[in-house]
Assembly symmetry: C2
Homo-oligomer: 465 residues x 2
């Protein structure tokens, strides 16, 4: 059931057209040869039902004559005196030639279509390393190519063996994560590693009735060499007759998709690891000051909530996340006697504390990837009115991510207990933010912060995505 709008060569159609006698003899060369062999006035050629194609058959019924056969099938009759048998033989031969040509033409078209599908997929999947995006592209492609009510891309977690739906379309599947491998038809197909068509699902002994109706389905495993990493499932509520060609297209899609999904998963995992490692090390550095417990995480969470509220682009959100995690990394350069001092700092001591913005920049400048987050780290103590440190930048001279971290950092500092003072309650801290909105802090950022639900923002462990 290849969708007609998907059939790139649908004009010719991939179904093989029936070879008829009418089509063969309507060719000028053939008609002329036939006329040369048998006298025109004697020659009558009819279709299998007796309808005259050449000459007249006034009886309206099949006449006694020689059959033109294509394999076992009679495709017409020839009445032409003594040459009738020869003509029938010739026409049978031409019919076989025609059938062979059409089979080859169909095969060529099928291969063209397969190639076009492959190139299309390759181009679409090229260089995307986001598993969700890759899977959505695959679902979209399957939808375009195959008639189905439900389509899903399912992957297997290597560690747990659990299945997840990465992307889906239709009524059956709502993206789910971490469910047990199915014991039903799909489960058995995945276990076997071989794609399969099940046109009559209800009668299949492996079928386990679910919540929704499926009548016909196909499943193609996603394989990397011999390792099954998941599957593409398509199914239909109404009975369909999925063909071997449909499965071939689905399998081509699966074959081209498997590596894209696996690469995206590996990239994603590495990215997650990277962020977790940076976060853990940043937190470790933060933990030297026991009064700041959880500060890093809260500043990250407030900052991301503000960024989202302000509609930051994906790239800026990434910078914001990392800069927030690393904003106080420079404190590593501050000695214990100052960093951990439980009484109020002298002006000179405070000027040493201020150095953590510069130290942060000095640490990060060695990492090319972190170049873009340096402004966020270095300028998180700048003030909107230019009275901050280390450079006294003002207004939009200060990178937006630094302006956001400034608010997140200040709010968290105000609401946390310190050795020399008790933390403010939420309301008092908000009052302070409002009071200095436009002077210490960017008023747009303060307003965005005031729109978020602070208690909702905290919690949740995922650093990424």
């Amino acid at each position: 059931m290849v969708c007609s709008r998907a059939a790139v060569f649908s004009k010719g159609g991939i179904k093989i057209r029936k070879v008829t006698l009418k089509n063969i003899i309507k060719r000028q060369e053939v008609a002329s040869i036939l006329g040369d062999i048998a006298p025109v006035d004697e020659l009558v050629i009819t279709d299998p039902g007796g309808k005259a194609l050449i000459g007249n058959n006034n009886s309206g019924k099949p006449l006694p004559g020689c059959p033109v056969k294509l394999g076992e099938e009679v495709i017409g009759w020839v009445m032409g005196g003594e040459k009738a048998e020869t003509l029938a033989k010739l026409l049978s031969y031409l019919a076989v030639q025609e059938l062979e040509k059409r089979s080859l033409a169909r095969e060529t078209l099928e291969k063209y279509k397969e190639i076009s599908v492959i190139y299309d997929i390759t181009e679409k999947l090229a260089a995307s390393l986001d598993p969700k995006q890759v899977s959505q592209l695959i679902v979209g492609e399957a939808k375009r190519l195959i008639q189905a009510d439900n389509i899903s891309v399912m992957v297997i977690d290597e560690d747990t063996g659990l299945y997840s739906i990465l992307a889906a379309s239709g009524t059956e599947y709502h993206p789910k994560i971490g469910f047990q491998p199915g014991k039903g038809i799909a489960g058995s197909i995945i276990a076997s590693g071989k794609g399969e068509i099940v046109n009559d699902v209800i009668s299949d002994p492996r079928y386990i009735r679910g919540t929704i109706k499926i009548s016909s389905m196909m499943c193609a495993p996603l394989k990397i060499k011999d390792r099954v990493i998941g599957a593409i499932n398509v199914s239909s509520a109404q009975p369909l007759n999925y063909t071997a060609e449909d499965l071939k297209i689905l399998s081509a899609l699966a074959l081209q998709s498997a590596a894209a999904i696996e690469n995206a998963r590996l990239y994603d995992r590495l990215k997650d690891t990277f962020l977790t490692a940076v976060y853990t090390l940043a937190e470790t550095i933060e933990k030297r000051d026991p009064y700041t417990g959880g500060h890093t995480k809260r500043v990250m969470q407030y900052s991301l909530a503000i960024g989202k509220e302000l509609g930051l682009a994906d790239g800026d959100m990434e910078r914001l996340r990392l800069a927030a995690i690393l904003h106080d990394v420079g404190k590593i350069g501050i000695r214990d006697n100052i960093l951990l001092k439980s009484s109020k700092l002298t002006l000179e001591e405070f000027s040493l504390i201020k150095m953590h913005t510069i130290y942060g920049q000095q640490v990060l400048k060695h990492i090319k990837y972190f170049k873009d987050i340096i402004p966020g780290v270095m300028y998180h103590h700048e003030r909107f009115d230019g009275k901050g440190y280390p450079e006294g930048l003002r207004g939009e001279e200060i990178d937006i991510i630094a302006r956001i971290i400034a608010v997140a950092d200040s709010y968290d500092a105000m609401t946390t207990d310190r050795p020399y003072r008790k933390g403010l309650c939420h309301e008092a801290a908000v009052e302070e933010l409002k009071r200095c909105s436009g002077s210490q802090w960017d008023s747009d950022v303060v307003e965005a912060f005031l729109r978020i639900d602070v208690s909702q923002t905290l919690g949740g462990g995922k650093l990424y995505g």
Copy 2:
């Protein structure tokens, strides 16, 4: 010039076989039909040169008769009395049918071959994220498919615009990195983004004479959507006639390869970034103790040299690298007054210092990816004879990477100046290693260390690869 051993369907050959009259009339059905139409004793059919195929031509020369034509070409002659013309017409028609069939068959085979090439590449490239390995696979595949003396996979650095050869085979290219984009033929093809065949390189106005002889070449750009990221080049010292079909195969290879190369490059870059970030943060933590400047890097370099000497597997080398970088990360938990003390430590103070192995484990256990390196970090102060800390493990109970780091760490500590003592010279440190080989340190590891050239080991900035 598709190599014969590569032609999956070489049995049939992809070259179209010439349609001859002999082949047409040797079919039983055709012979029988011919005999029915013309009296056998009158019928003579010859090839274009007059050689009889049916009947006799005792004259040995072309007889006057009707030509059998395929397009403009005469493929034979028919002499058969009054039916000669009809037969010639019939045979001409059958020849056209045959030619059409063969064209379709050739097209089908070409498409089968293209698909087989694509699937082959897809399978081979699946889920490799190492740019060198991916490129080598591509070169191997090109070698298998296309006749060429030189093959290379070239990529363009996005930041610098410089070209690098990632993998190559043949005399022309020795892997090189960071050279200026060529102005010659390949350069112009890459700039155009369109694959090209240049069979007569010498006469091409774009040709710039190089050090080696090239007569014919093809170049297919590696493209991600519309962005050219590199190219596959093949060339031959002797003149060849590369065909459109060859370029098609090379382009299919390029199309399937581009995403694999790009993904591998992105993964590689992220991995590099990850390691650089971890390294930088570890170094930052180390820098709290100014007397250990460069310690982290040296311990990593000594450790990797020992690991290589011992023939560690790739996975263990990776663990070793990370564990060596992070071996003293737990020092973050040690207060300045102990960590930075310039006089000799008391026993109690030393017991606090010892805690850095446990603190290291506590930091790393939050990072799943670092699970396997914890033994390297936690046990780098264990002794082979069981008298070390924190657990008093002995012999092979101690992870090999911890035994390696122990030697690397000790050698570097011995040869570095400390506030309370001057560092030993290389020879004295080696004496000490030998003296305690088998008691403090694993003698195999010490021996491996003694085989490496310490001064050669230091230097070089790449953390990865």
